[in-house]
Structure formats: C-alpha cells, structure tokens
Symmetry: C2
Subunit: 573 residues, 2 copies
C-alpha cells in the first residue's frame, strides 16, 4: 500500500481498509528502520493511525500541522514525500529525526525540544487572522510535552483565540519516562470516564473539548477530525494512543523503547553508567543526596534499577528544566545535595533559573551536563552552547574534567562542598588515565594542571579536547617544539598565576574547547592576554546552525584538528 | 499600633481590632513611603491584611514563607524588623524592594522575576521531609505570576507531595497589566461562585482547595489559615484581594498604580514614549506590524491609549517571556512583523526560545530590549546580561544604537527587513544628535561608524557608552592623543575591515559596553586581535551580583570612567 502513497493527496483516495493496510506497512517499515539506525521507537509506533487520519482529513500544507515533540514525526515524514529515507538503506541518514523545513514544505519549523507547539500555533493563527486567510491550524502535543511550562503558557493564551485552532493531545500515558505531575492524574481521570469527567484541565483553561478513546483506530480518528474540521474556535481533541503499538516488546517496555539505539555493541563503560554507579554508592550512605531528572533518567544512567534502589532520593520532575533548577536551588539552600542530570541543549531552557535562583542565591547544588559537545546530526540537539551560556554567571563554578578519575573526583568533591553551585560537563569518551586525582581545597579547582612543561607554545586543552591537546603536543614535538600542555579543569574563572607564569617563556597560547568558540573559554583567555605580547589562538565550535552536517566536516570548518592548528600556528611564527 | 510591633511575635499578642488598626497604620505608611521613593503601590496595598494574617497564624521563620512576586513583600518587611526603612526617610533606600535574605532571616531567597515560588516551595518541602522536620511551607503567588510557565511546572509537581504545602493564590484580578489567559477566566468563575464551581483549575491539577472571598478581612483570613495550618497535604488557598486597597486612585487605576514613580519630574522624552509614538505611526499604516508585551506594556510605552488605537495589533500575553518569543517567531515566519518589547532581565527567561525558535528558524522578528544596562539597585533586575546571552546566537543580529535618530532608523529598518531576527538594545538616555542616519542595506548594520579619525588609540564605544567614549576622546585630546572614536552599532558580529584598518596606525583599542564585560562585545574584539600586536583594553560590568550597590560604586569598581581608563592606558604605553 505504501507504494501508492507519495504525498497526502494520494492518501485521500484510499478506503478505510486500505488505510489500515497502509498503517501496518508503515509500522513494519518504522520498526525495521529504527532498529537499524536508532531512533524514537515507541512514540512513533503509537501515532501511525493518528498521523494518517490527520493527513486524510486535513489538507497539509495549506492546513498547518505542528508536531510536538517533533521526534514523533516519522509517519508524517513517510506520508509527505520522504518515505525513501525509510525504505532505502543508503538514504537512512539523509533526513533528520525532527521537524525540518528544508526537507519539506509540510514541516513549518525546525523544532527540537518540547512544549513549543501551542505557542507556535498561536502565532500561526494570529498571522492567518491578520491576513484574513482561512485554514486549519493543528498542534499535536504529547509524549510528555504538556508538562513543560511553555505548553501551559501556550494553552493559557490559545484559549482566548476567537478563531480556528485544534490542539491534539496525544495521550500515550507516558512522557519519555513515566508521566509526572497532577495534570497526568487528570488525563487518567478523563481516560477512565471516556472524557466525561467534570474536572477537566482543558475546560478549566477555557477550551472546548472532545475525547477519542481508541486513538489507534483510523475510523474513529477520521470521524473525530471531520467533526471539528474548520471549527471556528479553539478546541482540544484528547486522543488516547498506545505507545509502542504493534511491537510487543515496545508496548511492554515503554520507557526503554522510547529511544532505541542502533543494533550495535554499546559499551557499558559510558558516563551514564559510571555516574549512576557512583551516585548509587554515595546516595546509599548519604540520604541527603537527591538525584533529579527532567524526564530523561534513562539517558543519564538513572535506570529503573537505580530508581528502585534509591527510592525517594530520585525525583523525575517531568519535562520542565526551569522547575528542576529552581527546585534544586531550594533543596541545596536547605542543606540537601541535589544532583541535576540534564542534557546540554535541554538545560538552555533554564538560563534565568541558573542565574537567579541557583547562582544569585549561591545554592550549592551539582548540575551534571550531559551531551555537552560540538555535534553533528540535528542542530536542535547540539550541546555546544552551555559554556557560553553558563560560564559568565557569577558564583557558578563550571568544571570540565578530562578523564574518568578526574570526573569522579570532581563529582565527589561537589557532593561534599557547600560553598558554590557547581556545573560539571560530563565527558563524552571514557578515558581511564589511572591517575588518582585528589581535590583538597577549592583552590585545587581553580588551579590549572600543567601536564607537560615546555616553552614557547602553551596548549590549554579543556575537557573533551584534552586528547586533541595531547595529539597537538606530539605533533609539535615532531617539529622540535616542546610545548606546554595544560588541563584547565575550570572554565568559569581563570588561574591568573599560571597564565602570568606562561608570559615568562611562552609566546603563543592555543585554547581548545568542545563547545561554541564565541563567548567561550578561549575568549576569556584572549581577553586576559589582550594587553600583553602573548599571541592567542582560540579553537572551538562555529557560530552556525550546522544541521545534519557530519562532525568531521564541522571539525574541519573550525580547524579542530592537529594539522590545521599547526598550520595556523606557523602562519604566525 | 505600629510602635508595638517589631517582629511577628509581637503581632500575636494583638486583638483583631488592634490588627485592623495595624493594617491601617501600615497602609498609610506604605502610601507615604512609596510616593516618596517610588515602588510597587497597588500590589502591596492589596495584601496588607493577608500578610498580617499569615504572620499571625504561622510562625516565620520556622514556618517558611515565599512571596511571589516578591515585589509584594513590603508589609512582610515592616512586620519582620524592617519597619524603620519605611518610617525613617534617611533609611528609605537601605532596603530592597524584593525578597532579600541578607536583610532578614524571614526572607529565604533572593527572588526577582515571577512564577518561581511553587518550585522553591517544592524544594523546601522535600528538604523538610528528608530531614524529618515539621513545619508549614507557604508559597504566596499572585499579581499575575500564575501565567508564567514555571508556576504551572511547580503546581504540576507540587500536587504530588504527600506532606504539608500551602499555596496561597493572591487573586487581585490583575497582572502587572490586566490578567491574560484562559486561566484567569477560571479564577473569575471561582470568584463568582464563591469557590464552588466544579470546573476548577487547581482541583484539575490534583489540589485540595479553599476559597476566601474577602481577602482584605483579617478575621476571615485568620480563620482560613487556622483551618489549614499543619495540613498534611498540598492545598491551594484562593484569596480574593483588592489591588490598591485603601487608596482610591490606586483602586481605580490598577495598572498605573502597580508601580509608582518617585514624586519627581519625569521627562516625557524617554524611549518608552519615543518607541510607542514611532510604532503607532507605523502600525496604523501597516496592519502586519504587531506589538507584543509579556505583561509589561506600560513600562515599555505601550499605554492604554496606545492599545486603544492599535486594537488587535497589540497583544499582552501575560507574564510568559518564553511563549512571547516562540509566538513572535511563528508570526514572523508567516510574514507578520512582531515587535516584542521586553526588559533585559526578564528576557533571560527565553534563551532557548531565542536560540531555537527564533534564530534557528531565522524568523525576522524585532526584539526591543529595555533596561539593558549595568545598574545599581536590586541585583535581580539588573539588565547587564543580555549582550553575553544573545550575541553568540547564530543568525541573530544584535544592535546597540547610540542616539534617538539612530535608534529609530534601526527600528524602522528592522520593521522593513525580512532577512534576520533582530535585537535592538533600547538606549537609556535620550540623546538627540540631530544627525540623520540612513540604513540602505544590511551591510550598513555591520559597518562600524568612525565618528572621529585619529591614530594610536581607537575607542570602540558601544550603545549607551558612546558618550563615555566621547568623554574619553576629549580627555585624551588634552594630553595630545588624537584618538579614533567608533560607534560599532552591531555587537553580534565584527566589522573586520575596520578592525584590520585599525591595525595599520593604531596600537591600542579600548572597548566600552554597558553590560557584563565577560563574554560580551569587548571579548569578541580581544579575541579578534589575539593573534596580532594590537593591545586591547576591555571595559564593562563586573561578574558579581552587586546587590543594592550604588551605580557610581559599580562604575568605579569596573574602571568605567575616563580618569581610570586613561590611567590604565598609560600603565601600558
């Protein structure tokens, strides 16, 4: 049946039976492709029928669809001209796993993290109404996205609209992990009462409301959409779907099947596991340590087994990074030690809370930043901004360890100390340097480690890029430059003693960081030496949204390899 | 009666009649003090009785109070040992207008912007429960703060608690401006039904709920608090208060009396008025221009008169900066021109939306950043972070005009262009340079204006600090240095042609910016010249939370005056 469908128009010619065959075809295709490449399994399997029914009833791209979270757009992509990327293995990597306008006119926005769809839909509706145009606007939100504060802000504003807006709640009973919060009890009540309960979160916010119990039944869905198509006011259509539908393992393991890794060997020696093992030992001994996850415990090592063992010492707050940071600030203020485990790109949601609630109140929480690195792939999930974002905040101590031992020593120290809020960039590759690393006083955090003492050229190699620094050191040795290699550890303040020492017998300083160059660590070094004779060469990620660009291409653009750096240096010498 | 009360314990000895006299005394004191110094009038007058009743029934600081927004803490301050700062004119400026721990053990957190109290309360409750302690936690939220997404995130998590938490909704029927959103229709329904309506936002989120209709009646309030004191689960106490209570003008002008200026002459020639006048003219001609305010229209010039004239072309989204930016992104994508008017410190709530929704999607909206400057006063409302926060975001064009004409020319251009999202730092002092400033192409935005051509020393004076640059130029002339003075205009990218030119006959570059030095404009210049012989001296705000520090003291610390800069320069020459 898939052969017949190249765009949404083809869909409209099919019978309900044929649509059901199509759903089955798509489901099989999804399972095969996601197992091969990795990807969001459960959420996409759950809304195959919902997506088909939307495209059957509405007329995209005239009618506007916004998917939130946009990782549940696989069926939408298959139906809007991108099925080859799911069928043809050679094209598997040609598309993004998220909504991407340059791929198709059916994707309006590049959308990464969650909870923005209703705000976007409000903008589209307002634009449509100003221009006196006439079409349906459909925001599909679910898979945990309702717990983000911006979803509420959107709902609170959307219900005031005097024109068409359809908000589809994809209620699969799950967030990335389990749903969290009182709102989800209300959704459960609504499911239990077939949508008839008088206590209704959406109606309380001013919405018209409809419920579809079998959200995997195409016929029911089509009828529901037909009944509200061209509606002249905002309505919430609450649809109950089954996450993982059609794949028994996924239906029964909703959290584990949310994201599926490529069918390749994944080493258990990764920082998610290392962190969880370390925290578990500490938390068993100290009941005042609390681990907090904004809905992503599994990807940060906080597995169901971990949670079972630490019980109340683990808190999943749902997808709401702002709350997570403010909540942790208060805990730390009252002598509890919260450890917030969060991805770099998701932490962007909490800048103000990091600045005001955490740092201004100087609450000694620990924030572990995962996936903090320059990355290829979808530009919405790139972890390169956290250094620029966090390192200028007063009081906040930002650390970038280079090895497993150093990471654990810093984490250990951060759990004990009560002086500062601390951010630790979780390294990306496990390097076991077998060196014991001891921190006795705060001063040790702010003192650069000189791992090789040379002259003329000094390499300040931060965090993940310490290995690049080592490679550079070796390359320079080949041409008889005995450089100095430094592990700065801390990127929020400068070790001015060491920097001043370097002035005595060095002419060039090279900084390397696995994050955005602009406004990062290197810029601090450049500014420090700006009044001196020291020449500074700074390296890091570039100021571009490099969507779906291979990492080695980004590295090449940014001269993030030994050969290019040596060439740059020689152009100066 | 005020003489008898020095701390909350004294309060507990008074009769209801005496408490009423006390309320009257406090109200008179507030009116006198706020008229003299400026401050939040309406919200504080509205909760005199509520604050008295809270302190009468509960036992602060053992029981924990969190005020949100914390600008409604004046009565709390009077009752907790800080009344002299309201009585003694010499001490008027000795306290902050916001919750400030260093002033009193009754203030737990430094809190500036809104909607964080419930998240903070969740943290306090969790800490209390881990430590097996026993006290009441009371979050008072209102005056618009419920519309911020983090308030929802807090509520959604709070209702799951299995222990004491009292959330007091101060429902004064207002935000800073009028309330916005479907939620407020539900509050109106609850008021109308004396709290009995079955459709109840708080109950839908899982809360126990009580309503107090006369929130300015001490007796009712005390009884309500007594009935829920030591409650063993989360409860929402919805209290209906009268904003501006006791001052007829304030009761009738709730928006204008929200914040009252000092009784001094305020020039109408300010950028709020200039912006509004300009936008009004443009918006009348072009129905596709839309002004958006996150609940602060008055302070950004968008007065009731303005709103009356532009009708649907003005949208107050309530206190929710994240939604405001995402909403504007979608409008701009669909060929509408949104102009978001927002204070620098409040914009901190929307970093991720600025990065991903606005800039990554390259939506050509205009963001006007008000109060963007280094400032004395309460450190929660300092506008010094926006340069560091925004200028590293790809695609985002960030501009800092130096005069009225330049500001209007840039604003005008931003309204016409469809290429980039643009941020304009609204200048703080109106300088009418009488020069016409024309922008023909994008290139003009990125080309530095050389306003005085000299040699040896070049001054790059950004935005507000262009006048400091002019003063510095004059001072250098006195000692026979004919410096170059440059107005960079753009702070998100560099005019490398001009910077390269400077290398020919200049040895020193001085950068001046009215914002955080670290990771700001000067650091970009320092990095650009890092490989050259150019010496760069960078000046801007320091990396500290300078709470209640006079501006001249901050300037002195940061060498932000001509004499100190010249001295620094001469130490190098």
């Amino acid at each position: 049946m898939l052969e017949k469908v190249n765009n949404p128009q083809d869909l409209k010619k099919l019978s309900i039976d044929e649509l059901n065959v199509l759903a089955s075809d798509i489901r099989n295709l999804l399972i095969e492709k996601i197992y091969a490449t990795g990807g969001h399994m459960g959420s996409n399997l759950g809304i195959v029928e919902l997506t088909i029914a939307m495209h059957y009833v509405f007329n995209s791209p005239v009618d506007k669809f916004i998917f939130d979270v946009s990782h549940q757009t696989y069926t939408h992509k298959i139906l809007t001209g991108r099925k080859d990327a799911f069928i043809n293995k050679d094209l598997y990597d040609s598309i993004s796993g998220f909504s991407t306008p340059k791929e198709s006119k059916h994707d309006l926005f590049k959308i990464g993290h969650t909870s923005t769809s209703i705000s976007l839909a409000c903008g589209i509706c307002k634009a449509r109404d100003i221009k006196k145009e006439n079409y349906n606007v459909i925001a599909l939100i679910g898979d945990g996205a309702l717990s983000g504060g911006e979803a509420f802000e959107g709902l609170n504003n959307a219900s005031l609209l005097n024109s068409n807006l359809i908000i589809v709640i994809n209620d699969n009973e799950m967030s990335i992990s389990n749903n969290q919060g009182g709102l989800y009890d209300n959704l459960a009540l609504l499911r239990k009462t077939n949508g008839t309960a008088t206590l209704n979160y959406f109606k309380a916010l001013g919405f018209d409301y409809k419920y579809v119990e079998d959200g995997n039944d195409i016929n029911s869905l089509i009828n529901a959409f037909l009944s509200i198509k061209n509606i002249n006011h905002p309505i919430v259509l609450h649809v109950h779907t089954l996450k993982g539908k059609g794949l028994e393992w996924a239906e029964q393991n909703k959290e584990k099947s949310h994201w599926v890794n490529k069918k390749t060997f994944v080493s258990t020696d990764n920082y998610a596991n290392i962190t969880a093992d370390f925290l578990l030992t500490k938390m068993k001994r100290n009941k005042k340590i609390v681990a907090i996850s904004p809905a992503t415990p599994l990807s940060t090592g906080l597995t169901p087994e971990f949670r079972k063992q630490v019980k109340d010492q683990f808190i999943d707050v749902g997808i709401c990074e702002s709350h997570a940071i403010t909540f942790a600030s208060a805990l730390a203020k009252l002598d509890i030690k919260p450890v917030v485990c969060v991805s770099s790109s998701f932490l962007q949601r909490a800048y103000d809370q990091l600045n005001q609630d955490l740092a201004m109140n100087n609450c000694p929480a620990t924030i572990l930043v995962y996936n903090a690195k320059i990355a290829g792939g979808d530009c919405t999930h790139v972890g390169q901004y956290d250094i620029a974002l966090l390192s200028h905040i007063p009081n906040l101590v930002c650390l970038a360890p280079v090895s497993k031992n150093q990471y654990l020593a810093l984490l250990d120290y951060s759990l004990k100390q009560k002086t500062y809020p601390m951010v630790i960039r979780v390294p990306s590759i496990v390097i076991d340097d077998n060196k014991q690393y001891k921190i006795k006083t705060h001063k040790d955090l702010f003192t650069y480690q000189i791992t090789n003492k040379g002259s003329k050229v000094a390499i300040l190699a931060l965090g993940n890029f310490y290995t690049l620094g080592k490679d550079l050191l070796k390359e320079l040795e080949k041409i008889n430059i005995q450089a100095t290699l430094i592990n700065p550890i801390c990127y929020s303040s400068l070790d001015t003693n060491t920097l001043d020492e370097l002035l005595k017998d060095h002419d060039y300083v090279i900084t390397l960081e696995d994050g955005l160059l602009e406004s990062g660590f290197g810029y601090k070094i450049a500014n420090y030496y700006a009044k001196t004779k020291m020449k500074v060469l700074t390296y890091g990620g570039d100021k571009n949204f490099n969507d779906l660009m291979p990492l080695n291409k980004i590295y090449h653009k940014c001269h993030l390899n030994v050969k290019q750096i040596v060439k740059d240096l020689f152009s100066l010498i």
